[in-house]
């Protein structure tokens, strides 16, 4: 941030020194080259990043079906989306997914990272094995897991759990176990790559602190609790926010596993957006719901930032 400010200040200073614009000097000084480099960058970002964001805001106030010209409808799309009886269920499902992923999925990479970081031999093997699920294309993995989740007693997971006397479970086929099943898959798919990020962060933990704690007589658990985790605090906070933002936009998993069923138990907000746009052809409603979700995530990030600022290490 300060760098940008400095640069801006320097820029104003330069402007004051040389009030008149001289195209020849500008071109000789490299200005032309800078523009040439900027052309592809700006074009790609205008068309595929900044433009769509602005267009999304505009579209959410319009009615459009790609055939007739767009029509201005004010807050119509928003009231339509908010009065959709399915929205409450979809929001609750999405929040439920986020909560389950936070409670059960979030600590696993941290535990994995702390353990792998203690290894003195073969740690690259552990790293590679942990990261493998992140390499597998989600579509292929979901097809495999769908088979593993076979609700029959002879299904893969049910057979394995049967050995220790559990099950058979209906997995994706029952309303109350469908979402936890998807969370289980998502945890498997995501834990490894997140753990690698924590391991990288763990290498920056100052080891003198451990020695100091040892002299004070702290055991291994207390060292983890009072030194390792507090030192990771900032990374943990960032990863938690990123995970929340990611889980609120979950789409591929429910789309391919259940298509939103059984009985809408895995219907999420992004599935609704998809259905508005690509099933009903109502792009206005779809963008309105997108804008609402984005606004919610923005608000969440701001609140999260101020809440965690108090607990984070001052750097």
């Amino acid at each position: 941030m300060t760098k940008t400010l400095d640069a801006a200040a320097a820029a104003t200073a330069r402007r004051r020194r040389k009030p008149r614009f001289d195209p020849v000097r500008w071109a000789r000084g490299g200005g032309l080259h800078a523009v040439l480099f900027a052309v592809p960058v700006v074009l790609v970002y205008v068309y595929f990043s900044w433009g769509p964001v602005v267009q999304g805001l505009v579209l959410s106030f319009q009615k459009t079906n790609l055939i007739q010209p767009a029509e201005w409808v004010g807050w119509g799309n928003f009231t339509y989306v908010l009065s959709d009886p399915g929205l409450v269920q979809a929001s609750l499902n999405t929040a439920y997914f986020a909560l389950l992923a936070l409670v059960f999925g979030f600590p696993i990479p941290i535990v994995l990272a702390v353990l792998i970081n203690e290894l003195r031999k073969y740690d690259t093997l552990y790293n590679a094995l942990a990261y493998l699920p992140a390499i597998v294309p989600p579509v292929a993995a979901i097809l495999l897991w769908k088979f593993f989740y076979d609700p029959d007693a002879t299904g893969m997971f049910n057979t394995a759990l049967g050995w220790i006397g559990l099950g058979p479970f209906p997995w994706l086929n029952a309303e109350n176990s469908a979402m936890p099943s998807i969370v289980l898959y998502a945890t498997w798919a995501g834990a490894g790559s997140t753990a690698i990020i924590y391991i990288a962060a763990l290498s920056t933990v100052r080891t003198e602190l451990y020695e100091a704690a040892e002299i004070d007589g702290a055991g291994i658990w207390r060292r983890i609790w009072h030194i390792t985790l507090p030192q990771l605090r900032n990374v943990i906070f960032v990863m938690m926010l990123l995970q929340l933002i990611g889980t609120f936009q979950i789409f591929t998993e429910p789309f391919l596993f259940t298509g939103g069923g059984p009985n809408n138990a895995t219907q999420t907000i992004l599935l609704k957006i998809y259905n508005y746009a690509f099933v009903n052809g109502d792009f206005g409603a779809a963008t309105a719901l997108s804008v609402l979700l984005a606004a919610f995530l923005g608000l969440l990030s701001v609140v999260y930032y101020f809440v965690t600022k108090r607990w984070s290490t001052t750097t």
Binding site: G30, V44, P52, L115, P137
Partner: protein, 296 residues
């Protein structure tokens, strides 16, 4: 990941204590078992299923002993289910997306780190801002942009450009590259400048050769990233002849092809990224670690 890792939570003297050693050994073994089962297990299972008859897969999914006698599953998936063709499309999409990310991100990072025009901070801010916007806002309008590019009035639907070009707008790669370019000593560039090199020569002769490690990481992560893409290619590529394997697979699963052929198709779509990872694991893991550094 460096060799300098002198100690962690457990100190050297702790490691000599029998209690710690037993417990740590146990945990270590258990962890290895869990990681093998969860990481390698599904891959091995898919490999096994791809050469087994459908009946065997259903009857005994946990069976370890099997006779690999159904090699024609793979051939059926490759030709009959058109996995070969869609894998080719996936390769084309991954290569093009990677190239477009590289060109745009290198240009942006070079501009912001080395050329530093007056308006650089504005551009930098605008690119950074896209990192904080959730992808969901621009998702539907991006699709409409592809259907009808504003001002140019051409439709990119059912062309590979529809996937390649949006892949270029990767703010994350710009940040990673700019950080790396910033760390290159300015003296090299000054020296090249005195020798009469223009910006393009400085980029190709000085900056890019020095950035090879980070470029490799970006290439690898971008290839695997576009290999995993599903929703976007499904929306913009409706022609089955152009669809990548990730779009083809779910269609295959809902169709009436036998389970063994489906599993063979799954295996074929997994094996290439896994081999890529096995060869370049060090770069992958370092790359993901750096990525965390940027996020954190």
């Amino acid at each position: 990941m460096t060799d300098l890792k002198d100690r962690g939570v457990i100190s050297v003297s702790d490691r000599r204590r029998p209690v710690v050693r037993t417990w740590f050994g146990l945990v270590q073994g258990l962890l290895l078992l869990v990681l093998i089962v969860s990481g390698l297990g599904p891959l091995l299972w898919a490999a096994k299923a791809s050469v087994s008859p459908s009946n065997d897969i259903v009857a005994d999914p946990m069976g370890i002993w099997f006779s690999p006698n159904d090699w024609q599953n793979l051939a059926l998936a490759w030709n009959g289910a058109r996995i070969g063709q869609s894998l080719g499309n996936t390769v084309i999409l991954a290569a093009g997306s990677t190239l477009s990310t590289l060109i745009v991100s290198v240009a942006a990072a070079f501009l912001l780190s080395v050329l530093r025009p007056k308006w650089g901070p504005w551009l930098s801010g605008a690119i950074l801002a896209t990192l904080f916007l959730p992808g969901v806002v621009s998702f539907v309008p991006l699709y409409l942009t592809i259907l009808d590019l504003p001002l140019l009035n051409v439709s990119l639907q059912d062309t590979f450009w529809a996937v390649w070009l949006p892949a270029g707008a990767s703010a994350f790669n710009v940040v990673v590259l700019k950080r790396f370019f910033d760390s290159i000593p300015r003296e090299y560039m000054e020296a090249a400048k005195i020798d009469g090199a223009g910006p393009l020569r400085i980029l190709t002769m000085v900056v890019l050769p020095l950035s090879r490690p980070i470029l490799g990481v970006i290439v690898l992560l971008s290839i695997v990233g576009s290999w995993k893409e599903f929703l976007w290619p499904m929306l913009v590529l409706s022609n089955p002849d152009l669809q990548p394997v990730s779009v083809m697979l779910p269609r295959l699963a809902t169709g009436n092809s036998p389970l063994a052929v489906q599993m063979a198709a799954v295996f074929l779509s997994i094996i290439i990224p896994v081999v890529l990872f096995a060869i370049f694991q060090k770069q992958f893991l370092r790359g993901v670690g750096t990525a965390g550094g940027v996020k954190g």
